[in-house]
Subunit: 420 residues, 2 copies
Amino acid sequence: MTMLAAPAFGTIAGHVRQERLAQRLADMGRIGATVKGGVNRPALSREDGLARALLASWAAARGFSVETDGIGNLYVRRAGSDPALAPVMTGSHLDSQPTGGRYDGVYGVLAGFEVLEALEDAGLPTRHPVEVVAWTNEEGSRFQPYCMGSALFAGKMDLEMVLGCTDPQGVTVRDALAQTLALAPAMPVRPFGGPAAAYVEAHIEQGPRLEAEDRTIGVVSGIQGSRWFQVEVTGQEAHAGTTPHGARKDAFQAALRMVSALNDLMADPDDIVRCTFGRFEVLPGSPNTVPGKVIFTIDFRHPDAAMVKARGDAITPLIQALAAPCTVAVKETSTTSPVDFDPAVIDAVRAAAVGLGYSHMDMPSGANHDAKFMAPRCPTGMIFIPCRDGISHNEVEYASPGHCHAGAAVLAETLYRLAR
Amino acid sequence: MTMLAAPAFGTIAGHVRQERLAQRLADMGRIGATVKGGVNRPALSREDGLARALLASWAAARGFSVETDGIGNLYVRRAGSDPALAPVMTGSHLDSQPTGGRYDGVYGVLAGFEVLEALEDAGLPTRHPVEVVAWTNEEGSRFQPYCMGSALFAGKMDLEMVLGCTDPQGVTVRDALAQTLALAPAMPVRPFGGPAAAYVEAHIEQGPRLEAEDRTIGVVSGIQGSRWFQVEVTGQEAHAGTTPHGARKDAFQAALRMVSALNDLMADPDDIVRCTFGRFEVLPGSPNTVPGKVIFTIDFRHPDAAMVKARGDAITPLIQALAAPCTVAVKETSTTSPVDFDPAVIDAVRAAAVGLGYSHMDMPSGANHDAKFMAPRCPTGMIFIPCRDGISHNEVEYASPGHCHAGAAVLAETLYRLAR
């Protein structure tokens, strides 16, 4: 009975149009375009306002309603047939890194919009409304904290705190938001935290795994947790020619021992653990002076909460045990728990990929996304598509029209099944 | 017969006066004194000129002759009884590091001057003249190259090249030299490279070994050789959250492998090898970006020429073998051969230490000194005394009056035996 009741895969995906999606991506890519082919569209900038105005104009042309909220999240809704039901939501963000690419964020918004259009073109009603959200300031490169739009929606931040945040030039979120919203047509303002039946976000992978495994669709299982540390090793500067190794307090050699031991601690034959030493400063930095200080960072991530706790908790004692004859101070600077997506949504995404005949693989997200804040609110999932060489946060970021289409088709089938 | 002919140890050392030497060190320490107790007396500065004038005035008061040469080396001579004999020389330098101490260099000049005074006080004639030299610009911190005074004396540099060198403000050695010499009384100018019967330089150790071994006198066997390298490792920047370790070209991890292997290569149970990684720059230096580039330096030193060659030659191939998946460029930026001091001078220094009852040890010099350029010209040696905590090139540099006296006493006995 169930199988008979379910529509055939392709019912809605067949109305997802590759050329239209590619054209909308190209049009958005012109707003804040950089000479190297990327975009610079900071959150709540004039470019952000123009991108919102363009999206709102497309929505108006198709008869979709548009709303905003106290932080400027933009909601584009195709109405459902049952007014009592909460919307099935999708979306991502329109803001970019300063030297960002033409796909990070905006792809998820436009793939969602393509689904609304496909539903409209197919003349298929849904019981739930289907809503595309452009969340405000996901990147966090102009205003911190990042993901402020989805975090406010989910009740995880205080609006007054966020509105008072400033960019490096001293402009407040409050003032920037007013200027940005003035560029788009006036729209109704809704409160934060309305009910949501589900949330499914499409995004480029921002990593190399799908390309390396030659898969079209990443069925995202969750977002890995992370723990960040800053380590300061203090030794003693000394003459490189006259000081025997046995008499040295060489902060560099102590830090080297720590990093080697951390490499051993983080060893993972499955290559799921991420452990990165991105900053490693050696002072005073003179070739013939034994270093007296090293400051380095640890960025440790894993999708499994038990691993994040166990290996993360082992970091500080391990470092402290290796400091002598130097001293060390270890500070944990940031901690985020892993997020597991909803099994039913994960299954729905996988089923759509299978049903449409796309190669696919389950994978966690290495980066954070707005879906992280939605996951505790409603059944949530994500769909990844490959990006060339795994490169993102870079002007050369690229996802092929075929992959963009495939991700939108899987999103369409998934949302339709959740909303009908 | 030989034993009867040799004077008893103490004959001349008994006239070396601890208080006088300490007073002269304190007086010189006032010229360019810093608030932290060190000195800032750059080569060919006004302070350098005042120090020369003070030394020349002390020489005049004792009836010693003073000469200079084309680079401003200052020669203070106590005449010998045989006009046909070349001088037995001693000395060091009056210039300092920008935040230097009150002993590095100036101690060797004043210990030498103390020997001249002791000989004079004792009324002991010598067949050879005994000459104290204050070499110009040993430090090389204002003008490069370093040791220009002794190198020009030894015929290892070209005077026109040296006179054209400039400091960071664009002042030439030529102009600075003229201004400096104008501060001291006019004196005869001699050519470079006059004959020398021997050269013995007293200096603070600038390292911790004498203090650690509780010895008063270092009988210096030579100056170690050095090879300096600069290594540039190139990988690829990547997202720390999304990029599996297996897909990374992490320049930091490649550099870490290289340094670990170099540590193994340089392992030395006798703790004679010096191998220092003083500069280690990791780029771009962002906590959540896999490093795309590392630039680091290697400062390798050893007193034995065969070791300098064998282990030094092993460095580049070892690094290259460990670069994958990154690439690496290795450049040797500086090479100096080890210098072995003259066995007869070494024996004479050791015999004086033994004869005067000072604890002592044979050791190579870890740092470079003017004696390095004298060694190929004439029988050469050095005498080290301890400095507190091995600290030098630092305003807290300190050598006790007792140790200063001991070094001058050993120098006096050594020079007297070489000169009589």
